[in-house]
């Protein structure tokens, strides 16, 4: 268990969007340097929870506590940029860091796309756009990076490169990462804590502990093949760093 003060603590968060309860009494803590993965089917409230952490989503009940002075970087799932807006990659980053041309170039170099700086944002491929979004989030020198489906629209080879990049960036900046995924493939090697959710938290803990939890299997019915792959994967993970205690908690369904 991490004894340090959390960067963010969500307590009893409830959100209703239209007629649906998106979040029901959700608790979440993110500690410095930790990688937390939110896992769950489409429409499970993962993005709503991430937006609540960022302060973009008002809560009906509960609270979000942020460490004073916390710097957050956010990489949305996708952005809807109208074709009629002429905007190069460099100008897109300028929106986040107007007075720092050198840092903008540095961020693009770090994400491996320095050559894209003069290109119109609308002409980028899915993988290139994800790296541009990541570069803009990095410009903030964040203590916490919030990534919503970072591998969206990226092919399998590109996905593994992207995860290596993220893992390297975490090590360099020492930042915590909150990552959303609906795909069991994408629970990455370095994930410290997996939170499975379906409007409420079904189960949470280390990837290995979550794998053993029956609530996790209930959450992905008909995905036994994927669940098995994750199992193989977390098994290897245990050999690599056997530091995690058996930290899984099983939350009763409300």
């Amino acid at each position: 268990m991490d004894a340090s003060e959390p960067l963010v603590a969500v307590r009893g968060a409830c959100v209703t969007l239209g007629d649906t309860r998106a979040l029901e009494h959700v608790d979440l803590e993110i500690h410095p340097g930790e990688i937390v993965t939110l896992l769950g089917p489409n429409g499970a409230g993962k993005t709503t929870l991430a937006r609540a952490v960022l302060g973009s989503q008002p809560l009906d009940a509960g609270e979000v506590w942020r460490k004073p002075g916390l710097r957050m970087g956010y990489m949305p799932q996708r952005i809807h940029l109208d074709r009629t807006l002429p905007l190069t990659v460099d100008r897109f980053l300028w929106l986040g860091a107007p007075e720092k041309p050198a840092q903008r170039l540095q961020a693009l170099e770090r994400t491996g796309i320095a050559q894209l700086a003069p290109r119109p944002v609308q002409k980028l491929s899915g993988g290139e756009m994800q790296r541009v979004l990541l570069a803009r989030a990095l410009l903030r020198k964040p203590d916490l990076l919030v990534l919503d489906e970072p591998a969206q629209g990226v092919d399998v080879a590109g996905q593994s490169q992207l995860y290596q990049l993220l893992s390297g960036i975490r090590d360099e900046l020492g930042c915590a990462i909150l990552m959303i995924s609906h795909d069991l493939h994408l629970v990455m090697a370095a994930t410290d804590q997996v939170i499975c959710m379906q409007h409420h938290v079904c189960c949470s803990g280390t990837p290995e502990a979550v794998r053993r939890n029956p609530a996790f299997h209930d959450l992905f019915p008909g995905h036994s093949e994927l669940v098995r792959q994750l199992a193989v994967y977390t098994h290897e993970h245990d050999h690599a760093h056997d530091l995690h205690g058996d930290g899984a908690e099983h939350h009763e369904h409300h």
Partner: protein, 261 residues
């Protein structure tokens, strides 16, 4: 009075409106607010009628009414159970109909409805020019001071918020600036054609621009060309001036399509 003396106030008034309509029209296109602009414009007619009935000067009453309508629409959008374009369609046509009725009911005053619907630029005088120049200065100053924030919420509101941009305030500022411009343009091209002066020059500028600033500036230039062309057409061919400006703007837009890039 010489031709120049007669035409100078209309020309300056039209240029002031077109200058501001460039960047504002760019935002209308980028954020897909054309229908919102139409709704504010139609509502402006009701504001004008209310001002005349109350014996208040035209611009203050239309500006106040348009801004109140803009804020009301922002609030309604959140509560309304149907899609936004349905809400705007209802409000837009209801206020237009109510405005026409209100103008026709005004007792004792001869109000030219055609002038409000399609503009009456040739009738503007120096007081109008002063109002419009002041309004243009206010909008251009705000645009310059808040340019990055306005662009940032146009690209992505969540990213902007994380980066410390006051998203709601900036969005309301944009709505209020649009309401101010539309209220000012009521005598230039009239409530039915105002949106075209926002959209057509900015659309023409799109293909010729590599940056948002270029597009905004070029839209201003194209709009001012349309004002000059429309006034000239109106003067020599005795055509209604508002529609002449819009037709000229459309011709400029078509010409922009022919430019090879």
């Amino acid at each position: 009075m010489s031709t120049i003396e007669l035409l100078l106030p209309p020309l300056l008034a039209g240029l002031a409106v077109a200058l501001v309509a460039g960047p504002m029209g760019a935002f209308v296109i980028w954020r897909r607010m054309a229908f919102f602009g139409d709704t504010l414009a139609h509502g402006a007619l009701l504001g004008a009628a209310a001002g005349i009935a109350a014996g208040v000067a035209l611009y203050p009453s239309v500006v106040a009414f348009s801004m109140a309508l803009a804020l009301l629409l922002v609030l309604l959008q959140r509560q309304f159970p149907l899609p936004t374009d349905t809400l705007l369609g209802i409000v837009s046509h209801t206020t237009l109909a109510a405005g026409v009725i209100a103008v026709s009911l005004l007792p004792g005053v001869q109000v030219d409805l055609f002038a409000f619907l399609f503009g009456d630029l040739l009738a503007v005088g120096w007081p109008d020019v002063a109002w419009l120049a002041g309004g243009a200065l206010v909008i251009l100053t705000l645009l310059t001071l808040r340019w990055r924030e306005l662009l940032s919420i146009t690209v992505d509101e969540d990213m902007a918020r994380v980066e410390g941009v006051p998203v709601t305030t900036t969005r309301i500022l944009l709505m209020l600036m649009l309401a101010l411009l539309i209220a000012g343009a009521i005598r230039t091209v009239g409530v039915l054609l105002i949106t075209s002066l926002l959209i057509i020059p900015a659309a023409g500028a799109r293909r010729l621009s590599q940056t948002p600033e270029q597009m905004a500036a070029l839209a201003s230039v194209l709009g001012m060309v349309a004002v000059c062309g429309g006034l000239t057409l109106s003067w020599f061919a005795d055509t209604p001036v508002g529609p002449s400006i819009v037709v000229t703007a459309a011709a400029v837009f078509v010409a922009s399509l022919a430019v090879n890039r």
